[in-house]
């Protein structure tokens, strides 16, 4: 036998134990070889593995261990020395590598452990961030809701819409079960359920305002959680489940100091409405802080929107009121105008209607007086005449007064003799005064101009009225009439502070003072003196026979003449003084000899005034024609007469300087002729002056004459002096407004 280098195993190979070892070794080797394979596979799969070196080491260690166990398989049977050698090498290597690996692992394992903790930490952080994100998203969404809500609320100015929208949107945003608004009542002592989300028409529940829970809500500007059992929250029928949480917030009703909002509750100091919000009853939701903030913001917005709506409502109301008032005013104005028109028409008619019978009565009574009458009859007729004269005066007065008030009375300005006016008044008043044994004196200031421009008739009427009053109310004593030119110091009287007359070069102020020693007037009656129809108790006697209009008319005339009139009295029984000032013009030509109303004009006027002046007279009435012709011939004119309009148009030429035409004859249209003459002569200086002779001088006639282009109007019958002055004026100025 050769000695083989085989090594015999210790144990017989058929032993059971050996068999088991053999199998285990096999499997161990398999496992050991597959582990690195798996490791490599998974590491390759994963993106990050920081410890490759460790892996290699570990792989090597495992592989070698596996190799060892694999080689061990051969050692169960007789195996050669080589196998033993390999086995030994493998084992040695394995030992080296495993020791190295063990040493290496001491470093690595703590690192690996710490990776794990970091991972855990990051996971926690991620979860936290997720949670926060969710929160932020929710908040952002609610912010969006608020903006949308605000937009909705602010987009309308109707109160109901605002409140309804608020409730609806809040309900939607916060998924509320119920949302209600309680408004304070007019008395302010209760809160009334005004709007709810779910119920269409809330019945008017009221709740007293001074409940502690309500006070709590009102005293804080935040939304406050309240118990679902308090009266304001019990607006839903009780359900099976637990009622959800309830929150209440105050809504300030902004105070509008300038407005009185009628169907809103009274706003004096800070008033609040209460908004109650209820979460759904079967959810476990809680009120979150952001939701409460949302509710507070909405409440404020609602308050603002409501105030805007209130302002708008008020201004609309004011505008409607104004429109109504305008309409009413317009109607009133139209009615007033109608009334004035009616009155004017009435007056115009009455003017004519009343005067005509009056004339008839007066005329016929005076005629009657001339006939054979028994003394009783004569007495009766005289009474009739006196009464009708009085009535006629009264009618004139009333008509004058209404024309004065109308403003349709105009002053007839003319140059007149001032001294003569006073003398005339004196003459008229002397008889009555002497009967009453009153002494009348007249003082005219030396610087009073003799001639003045003004309305002579009305001035005389005024003076006569004032003096007449003085005489009427004096039983004895004297009456003094003083007339001066008012100087500037006197002009500003302390009793008439609003009267500031300013004299100028062409005007002066005549101041007339009438002092009597009669019954006087008590101070409290003085303001009433100038009012129409008012007669003071002491002055109103049956015999005085005044209508009370006299002074009123005087006052109006004086005002028309830009003056002032007042009466002073020291008291009853102490007499009184009537003073008035009127503005009169100063005539330029004071030495005019051709002025009318000169007393005692000599009948034979010397040289003719208008030699050779060619005039044309048109008058249908033969007698009138002849009279007018006589007048004009006397003044030296060369008169042509025509009796019809055709003849007039035929004859008129540029040689005729003046045309007199009668316009009051019915059937002959003097106006038409005037128009035709105007047409015929295009150049103004060639056209003859056209003067109308007429029997009535009312405004209409005057206006008609002026409208057709006539230069003047004269009232018939014409006296010589009047004709002379008219012609003078006409030829000088080419215009004459009117001559009575």
């Amino acid at each position: 036998m050769d000695s083989c280098n085989c090594i015999e195993p210790q144990w017989p190979p058929d032993d059971l134990l050996m068999k088991y070892q053999y199998i285990s070794d096999f499997f161990i080797a398999l496992a050991y070889f597959s582990i690195p394979l798996e490791l490599i596979y998974f590491v390759k799969k994963s993106a990050v593995f920081p410890y490759r070196w460790v892996l290699v080491q570990f792989g090597a260690f495992i592989v070698l261990c596996g190799a060892t166990h694999l080689i061990n398989l051969w050692t169960f049977t007789m195996h050669t020395r080589t196998v033993a050698m390999v086995m030994t090498t493998a084992k040695v290597f394995t030992a080296v590598v495993s020791c190295a690996t063990a040493l290496m692992l001491v470093h690595i394992i703590p690192d690996l452990l710490s990776v794990k903790t970091r991972e855990l930490f990051l996971k926690n952080k991620a979860a936290e961030l997720d949670r926060e994100m969710g929160l932020i998203r929710t908040q952002e969404e609610t912010g969006r809701h608020v903006r949308m809500l605000t937009h909705e609320i602010r987009s309308t100015l109707d109160r109901h819409t605002i409140l309804k929208t608020t409730l609806v949107e809040l309900g939607r945003t916060l998924a509320l079960e119920e949302c209600a608004l309680w408004m304070p009542t007019r008395t302010g002592l209760e809160l009334q359920l005004s709007y709810t989300l779910r119920q269409q028409n809330p019945v008017g529940y009221t709740v007293p305002i001074h409940l502690p829970v309500i006070n709590q809500v009102f005293s804080s500007s935040h939304a406050v959680k309240i118990s679902p059992n308090c009266p304001v929250a019990r607006i839903r029928p009780a359900g099976k489940y637990m009622p959800g949480e309830v929150v209440a917030v105050r809504v300030p009703l902004l105070h509008l100091s300038n407005f009185q909002i009628n169907d809103w509750p009274e706003l004096s100091t800070k008033r609040y409405a209460l908004m109650v919000l209820m979460l759904p009853s079967d959810s476990a939701r809680q009120w979150h802080v952001h939701e409460l903030e949302l509710v507070e913001v909405v409440a404020d917005q609602v308050a603002v929107a409501l105030s805007h709506a209130a302002i708008l409502e008020e201004s609309m109301r004011a505008r409607d009121l104004l429109m109504e008032q305008n309409v009413a005013l317009d109607l009133a104005r139209r009615e007033a105008e109608t009334a004035i028109r009616a009155r004017n028409d009435f007056l115009a008619v009455m003017n004519h209607e009343m005067r005509t019978p009056m004339h008839a009565i007066i005329a016929l009574s005076s005629l009657l007086q001339e006939t054979e009458l028994t003394p009783e009859q004569r007495l009766m007729v005289e009474t009739i005449l006196k009464s009708s004269n009085l009535l006629s005066t009264l009618i004139n007065d009333v008509l004058d007064l209404s024309r004065l008030e109308d403003g349709s009375l105009q002053l007839d300005l003319g140059t007149f003799n001032l001294f003569a006016v006073f003398r005339e008044v004196l003459n008229l008043i002397k008889p009555i005064a002497s009967v009453k044994k009153l002494h009348v004196s007249l003082n005219l200031a030396p610087d009073l101009p003799e001639y003045a421009i003004g309305d002579e008739k009305h001035l005389m009427q005024t003076i006569l009225n004032v003096v007449g009053n003085a005489v009427k109310f004096s039983k004895e004593g004297s009456i003094s009439i003083t007339a001066i030119v008012a100087k500037s110091e006197l002009l500003r009287d302390s009793r008439t502070p609003e009267f500031f007359p300013v004299p100028s070069d062409n005007h002066f102020y005549l101041r007339v003072q009438v002092k009597d020693s009669g019954v006087g007037i008590s101070p409290q009656d003085i303001p009433k003196l100038f009012t129409k129809f008012a007669q003071t108790q002491s002055m109103a006697t049956r015999n005085s026979g005044g209508s009370g209009l006299g002074l009123a008319i005087c006052k109006r005339f004086v005002n028309l003449m830009e003056g002032h009139i007042w009466i002073e009295s020291d008291g009853l029984g102490k007499g009184c003084t009537a003073i008035f000032m009127v503005k009169l013009g100063i005539p330029e030509r004071l030495n005019e000899p051709k002025l009318p109303f000169m007393p005692k004009v000599p009948t034979n006027h010397g040289p003719t005034a208008f030699p050779g002046l060619k005039v044309l007279v048109m008058d249908e009435n033969g007698v009138s024609r002849m009279v007018t012709k006589g007048l004009l011939v006397h003044l030296g004119c060369d008169v042509t007469m025509v009796s019809s309009s055709e003849e007039c148009l035929h004859v008129v030429s540029h040689e005729h300087k003046v045309v007199f035409m009668d316009v009051c004859v019915p059937g002959m249209d003097g106006y038409e002729v005037a128009i035709r003459i105007n047409e015929k002569f295009t150049k103004r200086h060639e056209r003859p002056i056209i003067v109308a002779l007429t029997g009535n001088t009312d405004k209409v006639t005057k206006e008609n004459c002026m409208r057709v282009g006539m230069d003047g109007v004269i009232l018939k019958p014409v006296s010589l002096d009047k004709m002379r002055s008219v012609l003078t004026d006409l030829l000088e100025h080419r215009v004459l407004l009117e001559a009575i």
Binding site: A360, A363, T603, G622, S624, V627, K716, P717
Partner: protein
């Protein structure tokens, strides 16, 4: 000269009485003033014209008012207007006054009233005519006696 003075005085008195009784007014005086050497018969001419006119108008009115069916008040009114104008031009005050009343009756279309007025007018007119003729006769007498007609204020 006595005669002349006497006549003149008579004339003045008569004139004054006419004025006083309202037959004539200022207008007539004015007319008288118009009488001078250039037109010595001015007043007489005017008066005669007036009388002619009057008669014509009165006849017109009488005819118009006599119509049994449908009196033409417009025409009557026109005539009255003319008469009024003439009488006021000459200064016949009473005639003018009656005319005023007459017009109102015309406007009221009162036939009875108009007839009454017409009567009155005729009456007045004849009175006036007589008086004026007397006056003119006096004037003639004065002139014949060589005097001048006194001016009456």
């Amino acid at each position: 000269m006595d005669v002349v003075n006497q006549l003149q005085r008579q004339f003045i008195d008569y004139s004054a009485s006419l004025h006083r009784e309202g037959f004539l007014d200022d207008q007539f005086t004015q007319l008288q003033k118009r009488q001078d050497d250039n037109s010595p018969d001015f007043v007489v001419e005017v008066a005669s014209l007036f009388f002619e006119d009057c008669e014509k108008l009165i006849n017109n009115m009488a005819r118009a008012l006599e119509q049994q069916q449908g009196v033409d008040f417009k025409q009557v009114d026109a005539s009255v207007h003319q008469l009024k104008g003439s009488s006021s031009s000459i200064g016949a005050m009473r005639v003018k006054d009656v005319c005023i009343a007459f017009r109102s009756f015309c406007e009221a279309q009162n036939r009875e009233g108009c007839l009454r007025c017409l009567q009155q007018v005729t009456h007045e007119y004849s009175l006036l005519k007589n008086k004026l003729q007397t006056l003119f006769r006096l004037q003639q007498q004065i002139l014949a006696a060589g005097g001048s007609i006194p001016v009456v204020e």
